[in-house]
Subunit: 210 residues, 2 copies
DNA sequence: CAGACTAGTGGCACTCAGTGCCGAAAGTAC
DNA sequence: GTACTTTCGGCACTGAGTGCCACTAGTCTG
Protein backbone atom coordinates (compact mmCIF):
# COMPACT_ATOMS: atom_id res chain seq x y z
CA UNK A 1 0.00 0.00 0.00
CA UNK A 2 1.67 3.06 1.33
CA UNK A 3 5.28 3.36 0.29
CA UNK A 4 6.48 4.30 3.75
CA UNK A 5 9.83 5.30 2.25
CA UNK A 6 11.44 8.41 3.72
CA UNK A 7 12.79 8.30 7.24
CA UNK A 8 11.00 5.60 9.20
CA UNK A 9 12.17 2.41 7.56
CA UNK A 10 10.43 -0.87 8.00
CA UNK A 11 12.16 -3.41 10.21
CA UNK A 12 14.93 -3.14 12.75
CA UNK A 13 17.56 -0.46 12.22
CA UNK A 14 21.06 -1.51 11.25
CA UNK A 15 23.51 -1.30 14.13
CA UNK A 16 26.31 0.16 12.07
CA UNK A 17 27.37 1.06 8.55
CA UNK A 18 29.78 -0.23 5.96
CA UNK A 19 31.84 2.93 6.33
CA UNK A 20 32.12 2.57 10.09
CA UNK A 21 33.18 -1.06 9.83
CA UNK A 22 35.68 -0.28 7.12
CA UNK A 23 37.15 2.37 9.35
CA UNK A 24 37.43 0.12 12.38
CA UNK A 25 39.01 -2.62 10.31
CA UNK A 26 41.48 -0.27 8.71
CA UNK A 27 42.62 0.95 12.10
CA UNK A 28 43.22 -2.60 13.31
CA UNK A 29 44.99 -3.55 10.10
CA UNK A 30 47.35 -0.63 10.50
CA UNK A 31 47.94 -1.37 14.16
CA UNK A 32 48.52 -5.11 14.02
CA UNK A 33 48.82 -5.97 10.36
CA UNK A 34 46.26 -7.45 8.01
CA UNK A 35 47.10 -11.10 8.54
CA UNK A 36 47.38 -10.73 12.29
CA UNK A 37 43.90 -9.25 12.55
CA UNK A 38 41.11 -11.82 12.62
CA UNK A 39 37.56 -11.16 11.59
CA UNK A 40 36.62 -11.80 15.20
CA UNK A 41 38.90 -8.98 16.29
CA UNK A 42 37.18 -6.60 13.92
CA UNK A 43 33.69 -7.67 14.87
CA UNK A 44 34.50 -7.34 18.56
CA UNK A 45 36.10 -3.94 18.08
CA UNK A 46 33.04 -2.81 16.16
CA UNK A 47 30.74 -4.20 18.82
CA UNK A 48 28.87 -6.54 16.52
CA UNK A 49 28.80 -10.27 15.97
CA UNK A 50 31.14 -11.95 13.56
CA UNK A 51 28.16 -13.28 11.62
CA UNK A 52 26.79 -9.79 11.22
CA UNK A 53 30.06 -8.45 9.88
CA UNK A 54 29.82 -10.92 7.02
CA UNK A 55 26.47 -9.41 6.12
CA UNK A 56 28.07 -6.01 5.65
CA UNK A 57 31.11 -7.27 3.78
CA UNK A 58 31.35 -10.51 1.84
CA UNK A 59 34.94 -11.05 2.89
CA UNK A 60 37.71 -9.71 5.07
CA UNK A 61 39.43 -8.58 1.89
CA UNK A 62 36.59 -6.25 1.06
CA UNK A 63 36.81 -4.28 4.27
CA UNK A 64 39.52 -1.86 3.17
CA UNK A 65 37.59 -0.98 0.03
CA UNK A 66 34.67 0.54 1.88
CA UNK A 67 31.89 1.46 -0.49
CA UNK A 68 33.68 1.08 -3.77
CA UNK A 69 30.52 0.45 -5.73
CA UNK A 70 29.31 3.94 -4.92
CA UNK A 71 32.62 5.39 -6.12
CA UNK A 72 32.32 3.48 -9.37
CA UNK A 73 28.84 4.80 -9.87
CA UNK A 74 30.18 8.33 -9.45
CA UNK A 75 32.81 7.73 -12.08
CA UNK A 76 30.30 6.25 -14.45
CA UNK A 77 28.06 9.25 -13.99
CA UNK A 78 30.95 11.64 -14.54
CA UNK A 79 31.79 9.94 -17.83
CA UNK A 80 28.19 9.92 -18.95
CA UNK A 81 28.00 13.65 -18.31
CA UNK A 82 31.16 14.42 -20.25
CA UNK A 83 30.66 16.51 -23.35
CA UNK A 84 31.07 14.55 -26.55
CA UNK A 85 33.43 17.18 -27.94
CA UNK A 86 36.03 15.97 -25.45
CA UNK A 87 38.13 13.21 -26.97
CA UNK A 88 37.87 9.69 -25.63
CA UNK A 89 41.29 9.72 -24.05
CA UNK A 90 40.83 13.14 -22.52
CA UNK A 91 37.44 12.20 -21.17
CA UNK A 92 38.85 9.10 -19.52
CA UNK A 93 41.85 10.95 -18.19
CA UNK A 94 39.63 13.57 -16.59
CA UNK A 95 37.37 10.93 -15.10
CA UNK A 96 40.31 9.04 -13.65
CA UNK A 97 41.69 12.18 -12.07
CA UNK A 98 38.27 13.06 -10.72
CA UNK A 99 37.81 9.57 -9.36
CA UNK A 100 40.97 9.95 -7.32
CA UNK A 101 40.38 13.40 -5.92
CA UNK A 102 39.82 13.42 -2.18
CA UNK A 103 39.31 16.14 0.38
CA UNK A 104 42.73 16.95 1.75
CA UNK A 105 41.91 15.77 5.26
CA UNK A 106 41.16 12.32 3.92
CA UNK A 107 44.35 12.01 1.94
CA UNK A 108 46.55 10.51 4.69
CA UNK A 109 43.82 8.01 5.45
CA UNK A 110 43.46 7.12 1.80
CA UNK A 111 47.19 6.76 1.55
CA UNK A 112 47.27 4.18 4.30
CA UNK A 113 44.44 2.30 2.75
CA UNK A 114 46.16 2.16 -0.61
CA UNK A 115 49.35 1.18 1.11
CA UNK A 116 47.58 -1.91 2.37
CA UNK A 117 45.81 -2.65 -0.89
CA UNK A 118 49.01 -2.47 -2.91
CA UNK A 119 51.28 -4.31 -0.49
CA UNK A 120 49.44 -7.01 1.41
CA UNK A 121 49.52 -10.02 -0.92
CA UNK A 122 46.01 -11.20 -0.05
CA UNK A 123 44.68 -7.74 -0.80
CA UNK A 124 46.76 -7.29 -3.91
CA UNK A 125 45.22 -10.47 -5.24
CA UNK A 126 41.70 -9.65 -4.22
CA UNK A 127 41.91 -6.14 -5.62
CA UNK A 128 41.97 -7.59 -9.09
CA UNK A 129 38.27 -8.24 -8.81
CA UNK A 130 37.62 -4.60 -7.93
CA UNK A 131 39.91 -3.45 -10.71
CA UNK A 132 37.95 -5.55 -13.15
CA UNK A 133 34.81 -3.61 -12.26
CA UNK A 134 36.74 -0.37 -12.68
CA UNK A 135 38.05 -1.45 -16.06
CA UNK A 136 34.54 -2.31 -17.12
CA UNK A 137 33.46 1.27 -16.48
CA UNK A 138 36.34 2.49 -18.62
CA UNK A 139 35.92 0.04 -21.46
CA UNK A 140 32.17 0.45 -21.43
CA UNK A 141 32.61 4.14 -22.07
CA UNK A 142 35.31 3.53 -24.67
CA UNK A 143 33.13 1.01 -26.48
CA UNK A 144 30.31 3.52 -26.66
CA UNK A 145 32.56 6.19 -28.05
CA UNK A 146 34.24 3.92 -30.57
CA UNK A 147 31.00 2.29 -31.60
CA UNK A 148 32.26 -1.22 -30.98
CA UNK A 149 31.33 -4.02 -28.59
CA UNK A 150 32.54 -3.80 -24.99
CA UNK A 151 34.45 -7.00 -25.44
CA UNK A 152 36.18 -5.87 -28.60
CA UNK A 153 39.90 -5.61 -28.31
CA UNK A 154 40.19 -1.81 -28.32
CA UNK A 155 38.01 -1.05 -25.30
CA UNK A 156 39.58 -3.93 -23.45
CA UNK A 157 43.09 -2.68 -24.07
CA UNK A 158 42.05 0.82 -23.15
CA UNK A 159 40.65 -0.43 -19.87
CA UNK A 160 43.88 -2.18 -19.05
CA UNK A 161 46.06 0.66 -20.11
CA UNK A 162 44.26 3.22 -17.99
CA UNK A 163 44.30 0.91 -15.03
CA UNK A 164 48.00 0.33 -15.50
CA UNK A 165 48.74 4.01 -15.69
CA UNK A 166 46.66 4.70 -12.58
CA UNK A 167 48.32 1.99 -10.56
CA UNK A 168 51.74 3.07 -11.69
CA UNK A 169 50.92 6.54 -10.44
CA UNK A 170 49.67 5.11 -7.17
CA UNK A 171 52.82 3.08 -6.66
CA UNK A 172 54.88 6.16 -7.31
CA UNK A 173 52.75 8.15 -4.91
CA UNK A 174 53.17 5.67 -2.09
CA UNK A 175 56.87 5.40 -2.71
CA UNK A 176 57.57 9.09 -2.42
CA UNK A 177 56.57 10.95 0.69
CA UNK A 178 54.77 14.22 0.17
CA UNK A 179 54.15 13.57 -3.51
CA UNK A 180 50.94 14.66 -5.15
CA UNK A 181 48.68 11.89 -6.40
CA UNK A 182 46.78 14.03 -8.87
CA UNK A 183 49.96 15.27 -10.50
CA UNK A 184 51.36 11.77 -10.73
CA UNK A 185 48.17 10.57 -12.32
CA UNK A 186 48.28 13.36 -14.84
CA UNK A 187 51.89 12.54 -15.70
CA UNK A 188 51.11 8.88 -16.15
CA UNK A 189 48.09 9.65 -18.31
CA UNK A 190 50.18 12.05 -20.36
CA UNK A 191 52.59 9.22 -21.02
CA UNK A 192 49.68 7.31 -22.52
CA UNK A 193 48.65 10.17 -24.75
CA UNK A 194 52.11 10.83 -26.03
CA UNK A 195 52.73 7.18 -26.70
CA UNK A 196 55.57 5.38 -25.10
CA UNK A 197 57.23 3.97 -28.16
CA UNK A 198 58.99 6.51 -30.32
CA UNK A 199 62.66 6.61 -29.48
CA UNK A 200 62.50 6.40 -25.79
CA UNK A 201 59.84 7.59 -23.48
CA UNK A 202 58.78 11.18 -23.48
CA UNK A 203 60.24 12.93 -20.52
CA UNK A 204 57.57 13.86 -18.11
CA UNK A 205 57.34 17.36 -16.81
CA UNK A 206 58.99 18.35 -13.55
CA UNK A 207 57.55 15.85 -11.18
CA UNK A 208 57.20 16.96 -7.61
CA UNK A 209 55.64 19.91 -5.97
CA UNK A 210 53.08 20.14 -3.24
CA UNK B 1 82.94 -35.69 1.89
CA UNK B 2 82.02 -36.96 -1.54
CA UNK B 3 79.50 -34.86 -3.33
CA UNK B 4 77.28 -37.74 -4.34
CA UNK B 5 75.49 -35.43 -6.81
CA UNK B 6 74.48 -36.82 -10.18
CA UNK B 7 71.81 -39.50 -10.38
CA UNK B 8 71.46 -41.17 -7.00
CA UNK B 9 70.11 -38.41 -4.81
CA UNK B 10 70.38 -38.47 -1.09
CA UNK B 11 67.16 -39.16 0.78
CA UNK B 12 63.86 -40.64 -0.24
CA UNK B 13 62.67 -40.08 -3.82
CA UNK B 14 59.69 -37.81 -4.40
CA UNK B 15 56.51 -39.72 -5.18
CA UNK B 16 55.33 -37.37 -7.89
CA UNK B 17 56.04 -34.07 -9.62
CA UNK B 18 54.56 -30.62 -9.76
CA UNK B 19 53.62 -31.18 -13.39
CA UNK B 20 51.79 -34.42 -12.62
CA UNK B 21 49.86 -32.85 -9.76
CA UNK B 22 48.99 -29.82 -11.82
CA UNK B 23 47.64 -32.12 -14.48
CA UNK B 24 45.52 -34.17 -12.11
CA UNK B 25 44.13 -31.03 -10.52
CA UNK B 26 43.33 -29.44 -13.84
CA UNK B 27 41.39 -32.51 -14.91
CA UNK B 28 39.31 -32.43 -11.74
CA UNK B 29 38.73 -28.71 -12.01
CA UNK B 30 37.43 -29.14 -15.53
CA UNK B 31 35.26 -32.09 -14.55
CA UNK B 32 33.67 -30.75 -11.39
CA UNK B 33 34.57 -27.08 -11.25
CA UNK B 34 37.26 -25.35 -9.24
CA UNK B 35 35.21 -24.55 -6.17
CA UNK B 36 33.61 -27.97 -6.07
CA UNK B 37 36.99 -29.69 -6.04
CA UNK B 38 38.60 -29.91 -2.61
CA UNK B 39 42.29 -30.28 -1.98
CA UNK B 40 41.50 -33.68 -0.51
CA UNK B 41 39.95 -34.75 -3.80
CA UNK B 42 43.10 -33.79 -5.65
CA UNK B 43 45.43 -35.44 -3.19
CA UNK B 44 43.38 -38.63 -3.26
CA UNK B 45 43.22 -38.65 -7.06
CA UNK B 46 46.97 -38.18 -7.17
CA UNK B 47 47.50 -40.92 -4.61
CA UNK B 48 49.32 -38.76 -2.10
CA UNK B 49 48.46 -37.27 1.24
CA UNK B 50 46.86 -33.89 1.51
CA UNK B 51 49.78 -32.67 3.58
CA UNK B 52 52.19 -33.72 0.89
CA UNK B 53 50.31 -31.84 -1.80
CA UNK B 54 50.87 -28.65 0.12
CA UNK B 55 54.59 -29.30 -0.08
CA UNK B 56 54.43 -29.29 -3.87
CA UNK B 57 52.14 -26.28 -4.17
CA UNK B 58 51.69 -23.55 -1.60
CA UNK B 59 48.00 -23.23 -2.33
CA UNK B 60 45.15 -24.71 -4.31
CA UNK B 61 45.23 -21.60 -6.46
CA UNK B 62 48.74 -22.38 -7.62
CA UNK B 63 47.89 -25.76 -9.05
CA UNK B 64 46.71 -24.59 -12.46
CA UNK B 65 49.89 -22.57 -12.98
CA UNK B 66 52.17 -25.56 -12.97
CA UNK B 67 55.78 -24.51 -13.10
CA UNK B 68 55.37 -20.87 -13.92
CA UNK B 69 58.70 -19.86 -12.43
CA UNK B 70 60.50 -21.92 -15.02
CA UNK B 71 58.52 -20.20 -17.78
CA UNK B 72 59.44 -16.81 -16.40
CA UNK B 73 63.08 -17.78 -16.35
CA UNK B 74 62.82 -18.71 -20.02
CA UNK B 75 61.35 -15.33 -20.85
CA UNK B 76 64.01 -13.53 -18.91
CA UNK B 77 66.70 -15.46 -20.72
CA UNK B 78 65.10 -14.71 -24.08
CA UNK B 79 65.12 -11.00 -23.33
CA UNK B 80 68.67 -11.07 -22.09
CA UNK B 81 69.72 -12.72 -25.33
CA UNK B 82 67.95 -10.19 -27.53
CA UNK B 83 70.20 -8.09 -29.70
CA UNK B 84 70.48 -4.50 -28.52
CA UNK B 85 69.75 -3.22 -32.00
CA UNK B 86 66.17 -4.35 -31.56
CA UNK B 87 64.08 -1.56 -30.06
CA UNK B 88 62.73 -1.89 -26.57
CA UNK B 89 59.15 -2.29 -27.64
CA UNK B 90 60.00 -4.77 -30.36
CA UNK B 91 62.15 -6.80 -28.03
CA UNK B 92 59.35 -7.03 -25.49
CA UNK B 93 56.79 -7.83 -28.15
CA UNK B 94 58.91 -10.70 -29.44
CA UNK B 95 59.50 -12.03 -25.96
CA UNK B 96 55.81 -11.94 -25.15
CA UNK B 97 54.96 -13.82 -28.32
CA UNK B 98 57.70 -16.34 -27.63
CA UNK B 99 56.52 -16.77 -24.06
CA UNK B 100 53.09 -17.76 -25.33
CA UNK B 101 54.10 -20.16 -28.05
CA UNK B 102 53.17 -23.76 -27.31
CA UNK B 103 53.43 -27.01 -29.23
CA UNK B 104 50.15 -27.41 -31.10
CA UNK B 105 49.15 -30.54 -29.20
CA UNK B 106 49.29 -28.63 -25.95
CA UNK B 107 47.18 -25.74 -27.17
CA UNK B 108 43.74 -27.15 -26.26
CA UNK B 109 45.07 -28.03 -22.84
CA UNK B 110 46.52 -24.56 -22.38
CA UNK B 111 43.26 -23.08 -23.51
CA UNK B 112 41.34 -24.88 -20.80
CA UNK B 113 43.83 -23.81 -18.21
CA UNK B 114 43.60 -20.17 -19.23
CA UNK B 115 39.86 -20.49 -19.31
CA UNK B 116 39.98 -21.32 -15.62
CA UNK B 117 42.56 -18.70 -14.75
CA UNK B 118 40.60 -15.93 -16.43
CA UNK B 119 37.14 -16.91 -15.26
CA UNK B 120 37.18 -18.47 -11.83
CA UNK B 121 37.11 -15.50 -9.44
CA UNK B 122 39.46 -17.05 -6.91
CA UNK B 123 41.97 -17.75 -9.65
CA UNK B 124 41.50 -14.39 -11.32
CA UNK B 125 42.38 -12.78 -8.02
CA UNK B 126 45.31 -15.03 -7.27
CA UNK B 127 46.72 -14.65 -10.76
CA UNK B 128 47.58 -11.08 -9.95
CA UNK B 129 50.50 -12.29 -7.92
CA UNK B 130 51.82 -14.28 -10.85
CA UNK B 131 51.25 -11.37 -13.19
CA UNK B 132 53.26 -9.17 -10.86
CA UNK B 133 56.23 -11.48 -11.31
CA UNK B 134 55.70 -11.39 -15.06
CA UNK B 135 55.53 -7.60 -15.06
CA UNK B 136 58.73 -7.48 -13.10
CA UNK B 137 60.51 -9.36 -15.85
CA UNK B 138 59.20 -6.86 -18.38
CA UNK B 139 59.91 -3.72 -16.40
CA UNK B 140 63.29 -5.02 -15.33
CA UNK B 141 64.26 -5.29 -18.96
CA UNK B 142 62.74 -1.92 -19.80
CA UNK B 143 64.54 -0.27 -16.94
CA UNK B 144 67.83 -1.65 -18.16
CA UNK B 145 67.24 -0.41 -21.66
CA UNK B 146 66.06 3.02 -20.57
CA UNK B 147 68.76 3.39 -17.99
CA UNK B 148 66.35 4.19 -15.20
CA UNK B 149 65.38 2.48 -11.95
CA UNK B 150 63.01 -0.48 -12.10
CA UNK B 151 60.54 1.36 -9.95
CA UNK B 152 60.60 4.50 -12.10
CA UNK B 153 57.31 5.29 -13.72
CA UNK B 154 58.24 4.38 -17.29
CA UNK B 155 59.22 0.73 -16.73
CA UNK B 156 56.25 0.30 -14.45
CA UNK B 157 53.82 1.62 -17.04
CA UNK B 158 55.45 -0.52 -19.69
CA UNK B 159 55.02 -3.60 -17.52
CA UNK B 160 51.36 -2.89 -17.06
CA UNK B 161 50.74 -2.02 -20.64
CA UNK B 162 52.27 -5.19 -21.99
CA UNK B 163 50.39 -7.26 -19.47
CA UNK B 164 47.18 -5.54 -20.42
CA UNK B 165 47.73 -6.14 -24.10
CA UNK B 166 48.55 -9.80 -23.49
CA UNK B 167 45.52 -10.39 -21.36
CA UNK B 168 43.30 -8.60 -23.81
CA UNK B 169 44.58 -10.94 -26.48
CA UNK B 170 43.96 -13.92 -24.22
CA UNK B 171 40.42 -12.85 -23.50
CA UNK B 172 39.80 -12.47 -27.19
CA UNK B 173 41.34 -15.86 -27.85
CA UNK B 174 39.13 -17.63 -25.35
CA UNK B 175 36.08 -15.85 -26.60
CA UNK B 176 36.45 -16.91 -30.21
CA UNK B 177 36.70 -20.56 -31.08
CA UNK B 178 39.47 -21.53 -33.42
CA UNK B 179 41.24 -18.19 -33.14
CA UNK B 180 44.99 -18.01 -33.12
CA UNK B 181 46.60 -16.80 -29.91
CA UNK B 182 49.86 -15.73 -31.51
CA UNK B 183 48.08 -13.63 -34.10
CA UNK B 184 45.90 -12.00 -31.49
CA UNK B 185 48.92 -11.20 -29.39
CA UNK B 186 50.65 -9.65 -32.36
CA UNK B 187 47.59 -7.54 -33.11
CA UNK B 188 47.34 -6.36 -29.54
CA UNK B 189 51.01 -5.53 -29.40
CA UNK B 190 50.75 -3.72 -32.70
CA UNK B 191 47.99 -1.64 -31.21
CA UNK B 192 50.43 -0.60 -28.55
CA UNK B 193 53.07 0.38 -31.07
CA UNK B 194 50.70 2.28 -33.27
CA UNK B 195 48.83 3.82 -30.41
CA UNK B 196 45.36 2.42 -30.56
CA UNK B 197 42.77 3.92 -32.89
CA UNK B 198 44.06 6.80 -34.90
CA UNK B 199 41.11 9.18 -34.63
CA UNK B 200 41.07 8.99 -30.91
CA UNK B 201 44.48 8.26 -29.56
CA UNK B 202 47.44 10.06 -31.04
CA UNK B 203 49.24 7.99 -33.60
CA UNK B 204 52.73 7.36 -32.46
CA UNK B 205 55.53 7.79 -34.93
CA UNK B 206 57.06 4.80 -36.64
CA UNK B 207 58.32 2.95 -33.68
CA UNK B 208 61.71 1.58 -34.43
CA UNK B 209 65.12 2.88 -33.72
CA UNK B 210 67.80 1.60 -31.48
C1' DC C 1 -2.88 -1.76 23.56
C1' DA C 2 -2.15 -6.52 21.00
C1' DG C 3 -0.88 -8.97 17.11
C1' DA C 4 1.10 -9.22 12.38
C1' DC C 5 4.82 -8.13 9.71
C1' DT C 6 9.57 -6.89 8.40
C1' DA C 7 14.43 -6.48 8.63
C1' DG C 8 18.77 -6.70 11.18
C1' DT C 9 21.35 -9.58 14.69
C1' DG C 10 24.22 -13.21 16.25
C1' DG C 11 25.01 -17.82 18.17
C1' DC C 12 26.03 -22.56 16.67
C1' DA C 13 27.78 -25.89 13.91
C1' DC C 14 29.82 -26.95 9.81
C1' DT C 15 33.21 -27.05 5.54
C1' DC C 16 37.43 -26.19 3.74
C1' DA C 17 42.20 -24.06 3.05
C1' DG C 18 46.45 -23.86 5.05
C1' DT C 19 50.16 -24.83 8.94
C1' DG C 20 53.11 -26.79 12.73
C1' DC C 21 54.60 -30.89 14.65
C1' DC C 22 56.44 -35.28 14.61
C1' DG C 23 57.14 -39.91 13.78
C1' DA C 24 57.39 -43.29 9.85
C1' DA C 25 59.07 -44.54 5.27
C1' DA C 26 62.55 -44.83 1.78
C1' DG C 27 66.39 -43.90 0.11
C1' DT C 28 72.08 -43.30 0.25
C1' DA C 29 76.79 -43.63 2.59
C1' DC C 30 79.95 -46.12 5.42
C1' DG D 1 74.10 -53.66 9.99
C1' DT D 2 74.10 -48.17 11.69
C1' DA D 3 74.04 -43.26 10.49
C1' DC D 4 72.21 -39.82 7.83
C1' DT D 5 69.07 -37.41 4.72
C1' DT D 6 64.86 -36.43 2.54
C1' DT D 7 60.11 -37.17 1.57
C1' DC D 8 55.71 -38.61 3.29
C1' DG D 9 51.45 -38.12 5.75
C1' DG D 10 48.60 -38.35 9.89
C1' DC D 11 46.82 -35.35 13.56
C1' DA D 12 45.39 -31.40 15.56
C1' DC D 13 44.82 -26.65 15.15
C1' DT D 14 43.58 -21.76 13.28
C1' DG D 15 40.83 -18.83 10.67
C1' DA D 16 37.64 -17.54 6.73
C1' DG D 17 33.23 -18.07 5.13
C1' DT D 18 28.22 -20.23 5.18
C1' DG D 19 23.56 -22.21 6.33
C1' DC D 20 20.27 -22.35 9.75
C1' DC D 21 17.36 -20.46 13.06
C1' DA D 22 15.77 -18.23 16.96
C1' DC D 23 15.81 -13.51 18.71
C1' DT D 24 15.47 -8.53 18.66
C1' DA D 25 13.79 -4.05 17.35
C1' DG D 26 11.44 -1.68 14.80
C1' DT D 27 6.66 -0.35 11.74
C1' DC D 28 1.80 -1.03 10.54
C1' DT D 29 -2.95 -2.21 11.26
C1' DG D 30 -6.91 -2.48 14.02
Amino acid sequence: MNECSVAPRMGRQPLTTRAALSHVALRLFLEHGFDQTTVDDIATAAGIGRRTLFRYFPSKNDLPWGDFDAELARMRAFLAATDTTVSLVDALARAVVEFNRFPSEEVPFHRERMNLLLNVPALVAHSTLRYAEWRLVVSDFAAGRLGVAVDAIEPTVIGWVFLGASLAAYEQWLRTDGSNLIELLESALLLLKEGFTSGELPTVGPGGQA
